[in-house]
């Protein structure tokens, strides 16, 4: 890329899947992947990953901490289809089957800096009570055919979901050439910003 007239802009995301709050479950691991539009292409880093299994902390918070790093760089020509990270959390049920404990997605923050996001997680529900029972019994809960479904709006009306918990993510976003290409996504003076204080980024 010539610095004078860039033809793409870059978005570098690093951060981590910090922790989760799933009050009812333990021994969870999580997978992440990115969903992005056609004009986007990953240039470096891992697009998807799978974390270790973590157990609940013994303190009051009962947090499930993964601290699973994410580091990926995208290039794009069009902000349309801005990358979303899709998280899916799995864990064993009473019979020891791995079942999905939550899906969630969030857009990578638009503005450069440090961002903390808490993603509410949900799982699809069975279509009937009987199926719910059998799926519990058989240890095969309903799952999305593709976790990436949660990053799209189309066709979601046919599903019913239940909330499960939260996953907290930390993003450090750096963009390049966005402004040069006419996309204004952040505060004007990026220099002076050492990132909003972590408190500010925390969800309410």
């Amino acid at each position: 890329m010539a610095a004078a007239a860039p033809s793409v802009f870059l978005l570098m995301v690093n951060g981590q899947v910090e922790s989760a709050q799933f009050p009812a479950y333990d021994d969870l691991y999580c997978k992440y992947c990115f969903v992005y539009g056609q004009d986007w292409a990953p240039t470096a880093g891992l697009e998807e990953g799978i974390s270790q299994i973590t157990c609940k902390s013994q303190d009051v918070r009962q947090a499930l901490v993964w601290n699973f790093p994410i580091d990926v760089t995208f290039k794009s020509t069009n902000p349309y289809g801005w990358p979303q990270i899709v998280l899916s959390v799995y864990g064993p049920d009473v019979f020891g089957n791995d079942v999905v404990r939550g899906y969630g997605a969030v857009h990578v923050p638009f503005s450069p800096g440090r961002h903390k996001r808490t993603i509410p997680m949900f799982v699809p529900e069975s279509t009937s009570k009987l199926q719910k029972f059998t799926s519990w019994f058989m240890g095969r809960r309903p799952e999305y055919t593709d976790p990436k479904v949660v990053a799209q709006g189309e066709g979601r009306e046919v599903t019913r979901v239940r909330s499960q918990g939260f996953v907290t993510m930390l993003f450090n976003v750096v963009t390049k050439d966005m402004r040069k290409l006419g996309y204004n996504s952040g505060p004007l003076d990026t220099q002076g910003i050492s990132g909003p204080s972590p408190l500010q980024g925390l969800p309410r």
Partner: protein, 1630 residues
């Protein structure tokens, strides 16, 4: 803080007072009381401020009015001032007590309320002794507070502590914050106080005596301050609550109070005094109120009060000024307002001149501006501007395209109504007619003038102006004068002058007109008398209207006087001006004279010096002289005005222009009451004239854009020279009209027609819609000269009324056409007006858009500036609504752009929300790309990374797409050679597109299963099975094949999918023939049809096998699989029955990397499995080298191929079986080795055993879930569903078909497709005695129709069945169409035939045809034309699902479904479940097939042309494929081959193998041949090329190789073409 303290104090005080227990508290108490009193005193001030309080309240209970407010004030003030309180020893009186009591009640109420409502944190009264330490602390704080206060007040002077400062500050803060709305904050603070800190009182009291260190106090104060701030924060919320509480203090003294009291202590009951409620009688209250309140009277106010003294009300409206309608206000309200204004603000600025309150015009429009629902009436449409937008074709349209169906052109309609024609002059006019016309014209003029009545209007205006001037000048009217500046006065005056002039002119005109009218009438009367007959019924009656002479005179006199005075004034002014001018001139003149004299003197003096500069002098003199010439005369002083002369003038004018006073007003009335003299009483000339008139008739032609479009009927000219047509012409037009002309033609007798005149009609405004258009009269005239020999005056010729011929007149034929032109209105109320875009671009259309213009109908106005100027000059009344549109227009025109339409439009701000303008959107390549991608246009659906800048997008990107778009409408015969096929291809393309679009829509409908993977609810059997499984062996001895996991196609990428081809073995590969046996005649081999040569094994004697040396391998076959340009091949095996058992792996690439189901379904690639013979030939030139090297050349000779479409593999998931190798009928140099085993002897051809699958297995696309509409009976449809459900329950894998979807997307019952249909006659005639041969011929014909799988074209959505005629039209279809056509032919031939729905290899689910011969059944493959016996082991049909006949459907309910093992006797209900049975009898469904098929003979010339072209193309291709080698064509061989081909066609590919070989050898000599004919149905060039390429003939690179290629195209009816391509390579043997 302070109010809080105060409150504490108050309460403590109450305690003290009631208990009256300790002397210690006495001073404090009294102090508190004092505070109270003070508060009472000061209560007045907040009272004033709180104006919202109802007066009654304030009257009744002054003390209760917001004590908090007063409290606050007091405390605030006190603390601010920090004044020591004056000690008061006096005890509180009863009044005070009661007041206090009330206060206390109120506080209690407030507290209890708050307790219950606001402060949920203290739900129950807290027990005093169970307090938290924190609470205690606060209590102590509060408790000490009063003391601190006391101390502070006492020790005011030693204010070294900062506490006071703080206190002050805080107090100030409160004050500043709270005093703006006095009352509220304090209330709320009181509230807080009570709710929070009431409890501690007793303790406080106890603690009070304790002395505390000062620091502590300070600290506490600080804390309080903090608290205070907190409270302030809470203000807004609590204020509201408090307000609510304080409203009804009186009533809320119930339980809450007791709570409160309980809280306080047990003795609290003593405080409560029960008293009756206070009551004031209404009367007294009213009295009191009367004093305080002001109620304006409802009676109307006399006029004099509203106006300044001695001023008469003036009604502007009467003066002719425009005054808008006042808004309607009830009279009483108005009166009240007036009264109030008069009392409150005695200045009369509120009242206008007319004595009414000034008011703006009523802003409410008389009619709603919102357009009503369009359905109501079309009249309201006018308010809506209809914006024409070109209809955009809906991309995802589901409509079916039909061949040749274009857009129907849009029609617009112009209605031309020609109602009639009136001649104002005609050659046949008699003199009387001329006069009559004149009279009529004058009368019309008169009527028009009278209607306008301009004179009256001007008179009124003059009057109004005069009045206004009078008013302005009147010194007694001081309040009005300011707005009448001298300038305005002068303007008024000039206007008066102008108006007067105009009026005079108008009056004069009126009068002249009347006079002329009378004069003409008189002339006419005299003429009638003179000629003694009358021609016209015209009659003028003058009606006299008497007038009061005196009043009239007076009015006139007054008028004259007014005028006179004005004139005088004017003259005076003029005189003065002139005088001024004169004076100035005079002075100048005098000065000049003086100067001149002086100069003269000077001159004289200078005379001696003059000689020095004579020149200059002269010049000077000249100048002087000139000056002298300039000022030759002394200015004349102006004459003062002569009043008498002026009066004289005025009077004269009045007499001239106006009616004389007392003279009756004359009203002329023209009527047609007169009688016309009958013809027989007229003189001869007149009779002649009348006859001539009768002979004449007139018609009108309508010319649109200079073309005659219609004409009226010819109508005779009436005696009154009026023609009535009353015809309306509806002109259907396409373009914006350029001109519209009417031509008036006159026919005289039978002689002929002559064009009288042309009338140009204006093109109507877009608003002129039929039904609303007004009939207009357009005048015309002609310049032709007509002289007549009768009484008629002629035209263009002079004539005279006078007897002596003087005073000649020349009249031209002229008249008026009454017509109206308007736009027609369509059915749905839309005017059929061509879009504006069609009009001439420019000002015209711009004008059209400005509604104001079209509404005032000034289409001719083009110069806006001029118009604006005119409007400014004419001083239009801008307030007058009649001028509204014009003013608007002018404002628009002058301002430039901002054009405020008079209509309502939805999405009016759309423009502003548009991202970019449409043009830019269209221009930008990037936007275009993005848009196309989002529309899922195939070319761009998967376009990745659309560049950011336009410049980075290559034009190339769009080329394909644009080309496709272009070609969609252009039928191009390049690829298709004959146009019919091109059309069909186009049509198919369109159908495909529409179906794909439909599918794209369907793709966006999701079922839960699409999104969620969920286990199905297991039924008992599965549960049982799974239980069983637990006990199952982990590794069974005979493992069962488990289904592989299917992969959904979404997360795949290139290289993930592989095609696995397992080539197992082959049978009966043709073998090389020994070259030695070159002239040996082979026995004629068997034909395709088995029946025909039952003895074939016998002929296949391996007679010549002995020729071969046994050690030589006669064929070394290998298999090459090519797919998507990837080629893999097996090792070479040996012998005619090789066994490879090899797995080939071919990568699969989806088109443009799209692995979605849709895209995979539409993959059209085929897997070619070619069998080659590897021939090793010795190339050693020199025998001596043999020892040192291996010199062999590997040649490969194509033997045959198997072609399997990818779509089949995709849908079948695996293909497993033995396939017949497609071996050309003739393989030069090869022959079949037969007869080794008797079992295989039955078979014909060679076979290959294959297993093909994909890794990983892909989920095939699901059928579309759309329910198609149907025209079938609901019951029948229901029955089909039931039938299908039953069948699929029993045999889920057997195909059961009862309905099909026809090409227009409708569900049709399947038997409707079957009906006897005639095959081409020539087939019937070919073998009249051999039905079997005929059947074969027909099958061959059907197989020649190109095959096009539906699943490819329709992306696996649905199987469309076209009828046989459609099929023949399209010349493409899949198995069903072929089968249906073949079945129909067989039915026609009298066979018993059925459609077999089942599955075959390699096609999968397919349709075959079953026929019943005398003793056996035959199974026909409709696509290949092959026929098999029922028990043929190599029959590709592997299972039978159902049979379909013309009247029933039978489902196979036998145990087996292989045709080998089933019984085809459909009459057995145990074996075949029939759809129509006794319970549901066959209703006799009509067929959807045509009655008869018509066949056109195909053009033979075209076929031969095609043949040449194909040959040329193929030859070129072969040369292209051999870029490194020279390609030689053996022309002689080619011509020989060309001879073979027709024979092949005749024998339908029967083996003529040996003949060819022999023939070739005989003709060409010693050559090594390798070649074969290819036979294909013709659809396009491309498959032919592919086929030739796949044989690899071109790949021989022996240097001396020669090629031969011949093509033969055999035409069958209906453009079915059979193509034969004979390719051969020749190598000369040395």
């Amino acid at each position: 803080m302070n109010p809080k303290e105060e409150k504490v104090k108050i309460i403590t005080e109450e305690f003290v007072e009631n208990y009256d227990d300790s002397e210690v508290r006495r001073p404090k108490t009294s102090k508190a009381q004092k505070h109270k009193r003070k508060k009472q005193v000061q209560k007045a001030s907040p009272e004033d401020m709180v104006s919202e309080k109802s007066p009654s309240d304030s009257l009744q209970e002054p003390s209760q009015d917001d004590p908090n407010g007063s409290l606050l004030n007091v405390t605030a003030r006190r603390s601010q001032r920090s004044l020591p309180p004056t000690p008061s020893a006096s005890r509180t009186g009863f009044a005070e007590f009661s007041m206090r009591e009330r206060l206390r009640e109120k506080l209690q109420a407030a507290r209890s309320k708050a307790e219950s409502a606001l402060l949920q944190e203290i739900p129950t009264p807290r027990p005093r002794h169970l307090r938290s330490p924190r609470e205690k602390e606060s209590e102590t704080e509060l408790g000490t507070e009063p003391r601190a206060e006391v101390e502070r007040t006492q020790q005011e002077d030693d204010s070294q502590s900062n506490s006071r400062v703080k206190v002050r500050r805080s107090a100030r803060k409160i004050k500043s914050k709270t005093q703006v709305p006095p009352g509220y904050p304090s209330a709320e603070e009181a509230y807080n106080f009570f709710t929070f800190t009431f409890d501690p009182e007793p303790e406080d009291l106890e603690k009070k005596p304790k002395s505390k260190p000062r620091e502590r106090r300070n600290q506490m104060e600080e804390e309080e301050e903090e608290e205070e701030e907190e409270e302030e924060g809470q203000h807004p919320m609590q204020t509201r609550a408090n307000k609510a509480v304080t409203v009804d203090e009186e009533d809320v003294l119930g339980r809450p109070e007791e709570d409160f009291l309980l809280d306080l202590g047990p003795t609290e009951e003593d405080f409560v005094a029960v008293r009756p409620a206070e009551y004031q009688s209404v009367h007294t209250r009213l009295q009191v109120e009367d004093k305080l309140l002001f109620a304006p009277s409802k009676h109307s106010v006399p006029m004099y009060k509203k106006l300044p003294e001695n001023v008469q009300p003036r009604f502007l409206e009467d003066e002719g000024l425009y005054i808008g309608a006042r808004p309607e206000v009830p009279r009483t309200s108005q009166n009240i307002m007036e009264n109030r204004l008069l009392v409150q603000e005695p200045v009369q600025k509120w009242f206008g001149d007319d004595g009414r309150i000034l008011a703006l015009p009523n802003p409410i429009k008389p009619f709603p501006s919102r357009p009503p629902v369009p359905a109501q009436s079309q009249d309201v449409k006018r308010e809506l501007e209809t914006l024409y937008k070109k209809a955009v074709k809906y991309i995802h349209s589901t409509t079916q395209h039909m061949i040749g169906s274009g857009d129907s052109p849009v029609n617009f309609q112009l209605d031309v109504d020609i109602s009639g024609l009136i001649f104002t002059h005609h050659p046949c006019f008699s003199r009387e007619h001329v006069l009559a016309a004149k009279l009529a014209q004058l009368y019309d003029q008169y009527l028009a003038r009278r209607q306008r009545n301009k004179a009256k209007f001007l008179t009124d205006k003059l009057q109004a102006l005069r009045n206004a001037l009078q008013m302005g000048l009147n010194p007694a009217n001081p309040h009005k004068s300011p707005n009448l500046t001298p300038k305005a006065i002068s303007e008024y005056k000039s206007e008066i002058w102008q108006t007067r002039k105009l009026r005079d002119a108008e009056q004069e005109k009126d009068r002249t007109l009347l006079k002329t009218l009378i004069k003409v009438w008189k002339e006419m009367k005299s003429l009638r008398e003179f000629q003694r007959f009358t021609n016209t019924p015209l009659k003028l009656v003058l009606r006299k209207e008497k007038v009061d002479q005196k009043a009239d005179e007076e009015a006139q006199e007054a008028e004259i006087q007014a005028e006179l005075s004005e004139l005088l004034e004017e003259h005076l002014m003029e005189y003065e001006e002139q005088l001024e001018v004169y004076k100035a001139a005079q002075q100048r003149w005098k000065a000049w004279r003086k100067a001149r004299r002086a100069k003269k003197k000077k001159k004289k003096k200078k005379k001696p010096a003059e000689e020095e500069q004579p020149q200059e002098e002269e010049e000077e003199e000249e100048e002087e002289e000139e000056q002298g010439e300039e000022e030759p005369v002394k200015p004349v002083p102006p004459q003062p005005t002569n009043r008498a002369a002026l009066e004289q003038q005025v009077r004269e004018r009045a007499a001239q222009g106006r009616r004389r006073p007392g003279e009756p007003v004359l009203v002329p009335e023209l009527s047609l009451a007169g009688s016309v003299t009958p013809t027989d009483q007229c003189p001869r000339v007149e009779v002649l004239r009348r006859e001539d008139v009768k002979r004449r008739s007139v018609h009108v032609k309508v010319l649109f854009n200079h073309k005659e479009v219609s004409r009226t009927d010819s109508r005779p000219l009436g005696t009154d020279f009026r023609v009535h047509f009353g015809q309306i012409f509806n002109l259907q037009i396409f373009n914006w009209p350029e001109s519209l002309t009417l031509q008036v033609y006159e026919t005289v007798g039978h002689s002929g027609t002559s064009l009288l005149a042309e009338v140009f009609l204006p093109i109507p405004e877009t608003t002129a819609v039929t039904g609303r258009a007004v009939l207009e009269e357009v005048e015309f005239s002609s310049n032709q000269h007509v002289t007549l020999d009768h009484e008629g005056v002629g035209s263009g010729v002079p004539f005279s009324f006078e007897a002596d011929g003087s005073n000649q007149l020349i009249l031209m034929t002229s008249g008026k056409v009454a017509n109206s032109v308007s736009w027609a209105v369509g059915e749905n109320g839309i005017p059929l007006i061509p879009p504006l875009s069609q009009q001439n671009i420019g000002l015209r259309s711009a004008l059209k858009r400005a509604d104001a213009i079209s509404s005032i109908g000034t289409s001719g106005l083009t110069d806006m500036k001029k118009l604006a100027k005119w409007a400014a000059e004419s001083k239009l009344d801008p307030n007058d609504p009649n001028n509204g549109p014009l003013m608007q227009l002018i404002s628009v025109a002058t301002s430039g752009e901002s054009y405020v339409p008079d209509f309502f439009r939805l999405e009016q701000l759309q423009q502003e929300f548009n991202f970019v303008s449409d043009e830019e959107l269209n221009r930008s390549k990037r936007f275009r790309l993005l848009r196309l991608r989002s529309q899922e246009v195939p070319e761009f659906r998967n376009y990745k990374q659309v560049p950011l800048y336009d410049r980075e997008i290559l034009e190339k990107v769009f080329q394909d797409y644009e080309k496709r778009l272009r070609e969609r409408n252009v039928i191009e015969a390049k690829d298709h050679i004959d146009t019919h096929r091109a059309t069909v291809a186009k049509y198919l393309q369109q159908v495909r597109e529409s179906v794909i679009n439909r599918f794209l829509i369907a793709r966006h409908h999701f079922l839960p299963a699409d999104l969620i993977a969920e286990e199905e609810v297991p039924n008992i059997s599965i549960l049982g099975l799974s239980l069983f499984k637990l006990a199952e062996q982990k590794r069974p001895l005979r493992p069962r094949r488990k289904g592989r996991k299917k992969v959904t196609a979404q997360n795949l990428s290139d290289g993930d999918i592989k095609l696995l081809v397992n080539i197992i073995r082959a049978y009966d590969i043709p073998m090389r023939k020994p070259v030695a046996s070159k002239f040996q005649q082979q026995s004629r081999p068997s034909r395709t049809f088995i029946e025909k040569h039952p003895a074939s094994p016998a002929t296949q004697s391996p007679a010549h096998s002995t020729d071969y040396p046994l050690d030589q391998v006669r064929v070394r076959p290998f298999v090459e699989v090519s797919f998507q340009r990837t080629v893999c091949h097996t090792t070479t095996a040996e012998g005619p029955n090789p066994s490879w058992n090899e797995e080939l792996e071919l990568p699969f690439r989806a088109p443009s990397g799209d692995y979605s189901t849709t895209s995979l379904q539409s993959v059209r690639d085929d897997v070619f499995i070619n069998i080659f013979d590897e021939v090793l030939s010795d190339v050693l030139e020199d025998e001596r080298d043999r020892g040192s090297g291996l010199h062999t050349r590997i040649e490969r000779h194509w033997l045959g191929c198997v072609k399997i479409p990818f779509s089949t593999i995709y849908f079948q998931a695996r293909i497993d079986g033995t396939f017949k190798i497609d071996i050309p009928p003739v393989l030069l140099g090869y022959s079949k080795e037969r007869g080794f085993d008797s079992v295989r002897s039955l078979s014909e051809g060679s076979y290959l055993t294959l297993f093909i699958t994909m890794e990983p297995q892909l989920v095939p696309g699901e059928p579309v879930r759309e329910k198609f509409d149907s025209q079938e009976d609901e019951k029948l449809l229901h029955a089909t569903e039931k039938f299908q459900a039953e069948c699929s329950l029993k045999f889920p894998h057997r195909q059961c078909l009862t309905t099909a979807i026809n090409i227009s997307g409708k569900t049709v019952f399947i038997t409707r497709y079957l009906k006897p249909l005639n095959p081409p006659q020539e087939f019937l005639d070919a073998y009249p005695n051999n039905p079997q041969a005929t059947a074969e011929l027909v099958a061959h014909y059907v197989s020649l129709i190109p095959f096009l799988p539906d699943s490819v074209s329709f992306a696996g959505i649905c199987d469309l069945w076209s009828t046989s005629d459609q099929f023949l039209d399209l010349l493409a279809g899949d198995e069903e169409e072929h089968a249906v056509l073949l079945c129909n032919y067989f039915l026609f031939l009298g066979k018993k035939a059925w459609l077999v729905m089942g599955s075959a290899i390699p096609e999968g689910p397919t349709a075959y045809v079953l026929t019943r011969e005398q003793s056996h059944y035959l199974i026909w493959n409709p696509c290949s034309g092959h026929v098999y016996r029922q028990f043929d082991t190599f029959c590709p049909l592997k299972s039978v699902g159902c049979l379909i006949g013309p009247d029933n459907v039978w489902f196979n309910i036998q145990r087996y479904d292989s045709p080998l093992r089933i019984n085809f006797d459909v009459t057995k209900p145990k074996l075949w479940k029939s759809f129509f049975s006794r319970s549901l009898p066959y209703p006799g469904l009509s067929s959807i097939q045509p009655e008869e098929l018509r066949y056109q003979h195909t053009d033979k010339a075209a076929a031969s042309e095609l043949q040449d072209r194909i040959e040329k193309i193929l030859k070129e291709k072969i040369m292209d494929w051999r870029p490194r080698n020279l390609t030689r064509w053996n022309r002689y061989c080619t011509s020989t081959l060309r001879h073979f081909l027709p024979q092949l066609e005749r024998s339908q590919g029967g083996d003529v193998d040996e003949d060819h070989q022999a023939e070739l050898l005989r003709q060409l000599g010693d050559y090594r041949f390798s070649g074969f004919p290819l036979h294909m149905p013709y659809s396009e060039i491309k498959p032919l090329v592919e086929a030739v390429h796949s044989t690899g003939v071109h790949s021989i690179d022996i240097p001396n190789v020669e090629f031969a290629l011949a093509v033969y195209v055999h035409p069958y009816p209906r453009n079915v073409l059979s193509v034969w391509i004979y390719v051969a390579s020749l190598i000369r043997n040395r």
